[in-house]
Amino acid sequence: MNFMKTRFVRQIVFYGILLIVWEGLALAQVWPEYIFPSPLDVLRSLAEGFRDSTFWVAIGISLRRIAVGYGISVILGGLLGLAISRFSIVKDTVGNLSLGLQTLPSICWLPLALLWFGINERAIYFVVIMGATFSITMATHAGVRNVQPIFIKAGRNMGARRITLFREVIIPAAMPSILAGLKQGWSFAWRSLMAGELLFVNLGLGHLLMMGRELNDMSRVIAVMVVIAVISILTDKFIFGTAESHLQRKWGLEIKRKASFAQ
């Protein structure tokens, strides 16, 4: 408890100083205001953005895109990972390709997506899916491959076969690794989405950033960056954090070892 308190105090002090230095530099007008806005300007832009609902609309659009794109990635990546684990022919072919594609930064798919689909939602979904799917695939495969043989032996001995064995034993046993992959996939998807919106696609938070630049409105640019960061932190903490602590409660310390397989 005391430890937590110390940490909390340190963080408050650190961020406090950061804000004061920032405000001080802005007040001293070292750089012109349109290049270096004060924290208060940013706060004002934030309030304004939410009041005239441009931020809400952009958040809504970006979240919908990520929900659809990431959702498809989870299903596709998971199924592909299971198929790779189950059939050696899939592993030697599609698995190999996935490993190669995983190394390609997903924004590299944007030109191709634009030619194939045009400047529309499908292009952005495509980029998000290409960004997230393969890391989920690889983590699922790693998780399944590293399931302790004793679990499979015990499961089979008690009468679990084929699909049932997969559903009741192999997937739950691989869950810590799969979750690590889902988390990584999420962060890839989110980054791909922001990059995509910045570069081409209409609306969304990334687009709002670009608009801020075009209007020379630096305080708005920073305000949008704050919104993006907050969304990232909230998802990380609340969605993945909750899932992780749930698994940790079940598995105990063993989970650290299991999750490290996915790295």
């Binding site: 679990f151 032996k153 499961g155 008690m158 869950m175 079940k250 598995w251 105990g252 063993e254």
Partner: protein, 262 residues
């Protein structure tokens, strides 16, 4: 009703060589018997148990249960491994229910059965705990409850108590004998600990060093429940030790030899 191991041999490929592990094993284990197998390390005890379980086939020979050939893994013959294989993602209760669920027993009934078996091993209080929250001895008891809840014909135990401290092991010896008396299951118990084998077994089969051959089967007629520190055990232990002395020396010599060659 009996388990018959008939002229069973098994070898494994090992670095371009064929390594014989079991040679011409013949056993007849009666239904309801608590049968122990001892032997020096690497003598093929676990392989023999795997063959009885149907996890792997023998090269030569057959195993039959009530005249029916054993050729596949089955919930009728449940293995209890040293590492147990309890599922960390399930609670104690759900672990015990697992096999019943695989059998397709409805939720309410399997909960009742599982609870009854947790009661047998005095772990009802821990039904909602996860596996990592239990001590080594408690995990063993969950594994026993999980196996017995499925009402198998046979329990196959592969050095299940080896990793435990002496007191916990003694407690589990009591528990296992008590459960065996009340359920009358056929139990095949493999160990390298001669005292443990004599403490638990109606008969103790002694295997030689690799390749494992059956040297002798020693009956133990002492009254139950037996405890591992009972003086009565010592005499039989000494007999088995005498038979195994040369075998153990041979194993050690082999291992030394292998080491110097490398």
């Amino acid at each position: 009703m009996s388990l018959i191991v008939d002229h069973v041999s098994k070898s494994f490929p090992n670095q371009n060589k064929i390594l014989p592990v079991l040679r011409d094993i013949n056993l007849e284990i009666q239904a309801g018997e608590l049968f122990c197998i001892v032997g020096p390390s690497g003598c093929g005890k676990t392989t023999l148990l795997n063959i009885i379980a149907g996890l792997e086939p023998p090269d030569i020979g057959t195993t039959t249960w009530n005249g029916k050939r054993i050729d596949h893994i089955s919930p009728q013959r449940l293995m209890i491994f040293q590492e147990l294989g309890l599922f960390p993602w399930l609670t104690v209760l759900k672990n015990v229910e697992f096999g019943l669920k695989m059998k397709g027993i409805p939720a309410k009934e399997r909960r009742e059965t599982a609870l009854a078996h947790l009661e047998m091993v005095h772990l009802v209080k821990f039904k909602d705990a996860y596996i990592h929250e239990l001590s080594g001895g408690m995990k063993q008891r969950v594994a026993l409850a999980r196996a017995l809840a499925m009402d198998p014909q046979m329990l196959l135990m592969d050095e299940p108590f080896t990793a435990l401290d002496a007191q916990t092991r003694a407690m589990l010896h009591d528990e296992l004998q008590r459960l065996w008396i009340s359920t009358k299951k056929t139990i095949v118990f493999v160990t390298h600990n001669i005292r443990e084998a004599v403490c638990l077994g109606d008969r103790v089969a002694v295997l030689s060093a690799r390749p494992g051959m059956l040297k002798n089967t020693v009956p133990v007629t002492l009254t139950r429940p037996r405890r591992i520190e009972d003086h009565g055990l010592m005499e039989i232990v000494r007999v088995i030790l005498g038979e195994l002395k040369n075998e153990i020396e041979k194993t050690v010599r082999d291992e030394f030899h292998e080491d110097t060659v490398r």
